[in-house]
Symmetry: C2
Subunit: 294 residues, 2 copies
Amino acid sequence: MITSTSNQKVKELIRLREKSKVRDEEGIFLVEGPRMVEEIPAEWIDCLYISESYEKRCPEQIAAATAAGVSTEILSDEVFARVSDTKTPQGILAAVHMIRYSFADILGVKKTPAHTHVQRSFMQEPFEQKFSIKDGGSGRAKLPLVLVLDNLQDPGNMGTVFRSAEAAGASGILMSRDCVDVYNPKVIRSTMGAIFRLPFFRTDDLPAAVRDLKAGGLRVYAAHLEGRRTYDGEDYRRGCAFLIGNEGNGLRPEIAECADCRIRIPMEGSTESLNAAVAASILLFEAARQRRGK
Amino acid sequence: MITSTSNQKVKELIRLREKSKVRDEEGIFLVEGPRMVEEIPAEWIDCLYISESYEKRCPEQIAAATAAGVSTEILSDEVFARVSDTKTPQGILAAVHMIRYSFADILGVKKTPAHTHVQRSFMQEPFEQKFSIKDGGSGRAKLPLVLVLDNLQDPGNMGTVFRSAEAAGASGILMSRDCVDVYNPKVIRSTMGAIFRLPFFRTDDLPAAVRDLKAGGLRVYAAHLEGRRTYDGEDYRRGCAFLIGNEGNGLRPEIAECADCRIRIPMEGSTESLNAAVAASILLFEAARQRRGK
């Protein structure tokens, strides 16, 4: 059991929590709390950190993790509180290997990420093969529905976007490099587990990536306050992508220009705009609605 | 200029910021930052507090406020930082009289709240008469579209719900007493000004209030994970209300039972539920879409 906050592993965990640069360098991010930890495929876990009192409370969970080949480490409650990102630590935290997706993954060619073999959560019944290739091995698993995020900054919004996108059946998320770090603990929490299931791809050159989407046959819509067309007048029953901009400034002009078409969500009253995650969700669920054939 | 943090007014502002009980007793809440302050009808402002450096930066704004009959008080930058709710205070903060709506107001009988006469923001062109009676003085201004919130707890969600509801053309919001305080500074910020325009009503007896909605001719839908009907199969082109539950637990059974019908938003993947503000927004914008005749 680790009882000192000057322990190297403890220092490392704090650095991983606080700095996206450290997370990127190590290829590791942190996931906290039993509800979130149980969503993680066992093979993705580098090490599971458990507080002393959590171990006493839920010994069967620790045994299950060990049986599944997961490394575990016990921390005194005091040390656990130091590494935790929350005010009332729940006593379980996983260091998880980052997921590397290719650009093709966000189009719905759902291959198993390179570093994983079998994907099972150690706490649940056999983990569904969510990233398995659904159509027999080569082609597309679903009609592409891509969300493109330009400089999205709020961690809660980013997490909510993941959650909504998975629920709406999106194939993946494309984002500019300057978006908030997906592995930020607040983002992770707000995704409610969707981070482990929805492919995403971060790029330094968003205009080029959007052009690639178009070259791949997707119709690209920019959510824009000055859009001439209303969002519900378009046909999304084909491969398509929605561009969503920054919370305060919307889409950068050079990104909006990449779209085939600007659409707007009609608004009453004096509200200038919608919350970015709400706007994204309304568009995604309109696409889902149309694709269900309503 | 107030230069001491032991000044009575300063202490009062801090209490107003921190305690919903104090806000309720005084009937006063705080609104911070130039973008939010300029949304406030001048007559609602009890006093405008300005930092020394903001006064130097924007003297014309202070002059406009004074000309509009708004009381102002200058605080030293240090004192302003103490009363501010944000890490980087913007230098302007208003103490605002609470808005008292009747139950009827949330149905779209948009009367001017009792304590206001003429409503103008002192910073903008003449303030639109957003609460004026649109149909000549007696009846209903619009088809009722009411959002009903049961124990919604997250301030960001509450604010986002206001913002979305105004934009979707909702007539008002009904909420249980145990929802997060609408006058919480984080809620105010997240509404982006919708708090000043959308009628809302808080009740100790939510089931009775929902029965009143039904007695008023509204069809009441509960957003429910176990709903048999999908949300987009219903007709919202009549007076209707949507019940939205708590972030973690959903609707309390006794509230869900009050509804005419349970509806569900179909979800793919393994996401258990949507963010509460997102779910509310999807339903409201589906109603708006139908009402536009699509």
